[in-house]
Amino acid sequence: MNTGIILSHIPFALALFLLLPTGKLPAGARFAALAGAALFTMIPVDGLSLAEYVRSLTNDLSITSLLWLAWCAGARIGGIRATSGRRHLQLALCFSALALLLYPAAMGMSMFDPYRLGYAPSYLLVFVFAISMALWLVRHYFGAALITAATAVFMLDFRSPDNYWDYLIDPLLALYCLSVVGWYVLRRIWRNLKERFVWNLSTDMTRPAFENSPKGLISSMANLCPEEGVNVIICDNGEIQRHIEACTRSKLLHADQI
């Protein structure tokens, strides 16, 4: 079994497991579900396994997809901390930008073909290094590690594709990230429209969340989330989150507890 085949079974099994509603099951049952998903990918049909059929359609997934899926599956089973909603969105934004840079031009929308930069990737490496550093600077260690791991695998070169882009991104990852960003943007637009509508109806509406808090904190939080102070939450690591689901419940401190 070559690496290509292994790489076709693993992501398919992980994706299948993540699609299953296993969130409320005990850890053992979740692990069994993952094992079941792995076995399912091996079911042979006309001489090829299901994973190989899926691979015929999807081609090999990128290393970043594979690791991201593995991380999410690990978080689902337990033992690995899930990335916060904000971090997830930031990473989706990063890969969406890469996808928009790569796919339209590579598929013929211009004479410039960014895909060719991946064959002897000196320039692309500098660009990706800059992205990794930017992620590190904003303390998005997961994203920086993901991209660095993909680059390390490209260096080890044990996969068959020989274009650096194929280690960084694939169309399914692009589609997922664009969906995440698109959904976020739509929600923001919807929320803004809703708030504007409510604001116009009730003129005495105020922003009560931090009225009794220290002045500095109020102003800094108001700057971060000027339109909805009530949802602002502080994690114990000092990060300010806008939504309660962004932090695990045990690590939350509400603004009014400070």
Partner: protein, 444 residues
Amino acid sequence: MSLIRQSVIRQRSLSTLLLLLIVAVHGCVWLQTERHSVPEFALPEPASFSLQSDSEPFFQTRFASSSVDDYVHSASVAPLPHGGLMAVWFAGSREGASDVDIRASRFDPASQEWTEEFTLVSREATETVLQRYIRKLGNPVIALAPDNRLWLFYVSVSVGGWGGSAINAMHSDDGGVTWSPPRRLVTSPFFNISTLVRNSPVFHRDGSIGLPVYHEFLGKFAEYLHLSPDGQVLDKFRISEGRHSLQPTVVPLSGEAALALLRNAGEAPRKVLASFTQDRGQTWSEPVQVEAWNPNSSLAAISAQDAEKDILVAMNNLRDGRHRLSLYETDPTLKNWRLRKILDEAPDPDGRLLPPEVYRMGVTKDFLSVGGQKIGDRLREYLLHLDQRILDERVCKEGQGCEVEFEYPNFMRSADGLFHVVYSWNNSFIKHVAFNQAWLEMQQ
């Protein structure tokens, strides 16, 4: 408090370690990355051809394929390292059918005959080796590299139509007797689909391969793949963009310059598109329409005796239809096109559909004009095949008539100085035409 401090110290250590890893990994890859340059084109030396064959005019036609009942299409021909030729094409019940495989036959220079055709690679074999579902096979291209390695590139599709194509590569180091397993070339970021091959590659001075390819998914445009001598993709360069140009045929004009002629898939009336490179294939000029017509059909070109002066082009120089295939000579300015020979043409000069009886009579006459020892047997077999059918569905449509087509030429020149063209003859046979420089000069 101490726990918090420990946690902070651990987090800082991890972040520092990650920073070091980011720098180290990217730095290592950057240092490892080879900067490929594209060497000059390898031009065939006129002296390398045995000019003995040029003393007397020589012109010969044969059928390279032997099956009488398959749909055959998209032939390609290459010289073999120790003399002779090998032709490849795809054949099956119809274009795009799951029973289509890549067929081949060898030309024996001693007997001047093609061997019985054989299956070189099948859909099932490709599926087994690549371990992915393969729906159909398409265009094959064969070429002999300067290191005497024979290369076969062919199209396979897993999902959808030709837009879902990928290119596979195989090679043979013993003149086409045994072949390596197929390997998929990585040419596109979008599921590695939409790249097809049609015309023969050219070679660079270091033995690297310049493979003209095209996309047929969201757009129709041409590219030049630069492969290492062992078939790894080193780089690729765009020849055209948009939705109307495909199937480039590349002719090196000098070490630095080359010409690409392209099939025009734009709005009718269409003319052949031409693009030039002056930097060994790295950048190409915007394609322009030249004098010759192109009815959205494949064409093939090769440099003649003097690469910088003469170019031979086999094409359907027609506004519409593929009922006449002609051989033209031109020069790199592409302003002077001289007809050298009509290789094949339909009985009706306008290519109108023929009644089945007329088609039968016409092909019998055409068939007998093709030489070869077994041609009489082949004709009897072919007519028997036609007799068993109301219509030959490869050519005729019920209630409409029969459309005679001569298309998809492929060109090469062998070491003995002979030019060879292979093309689809009514989608029923692969026809081979060979001629020499003396014959060509006689046509002027």
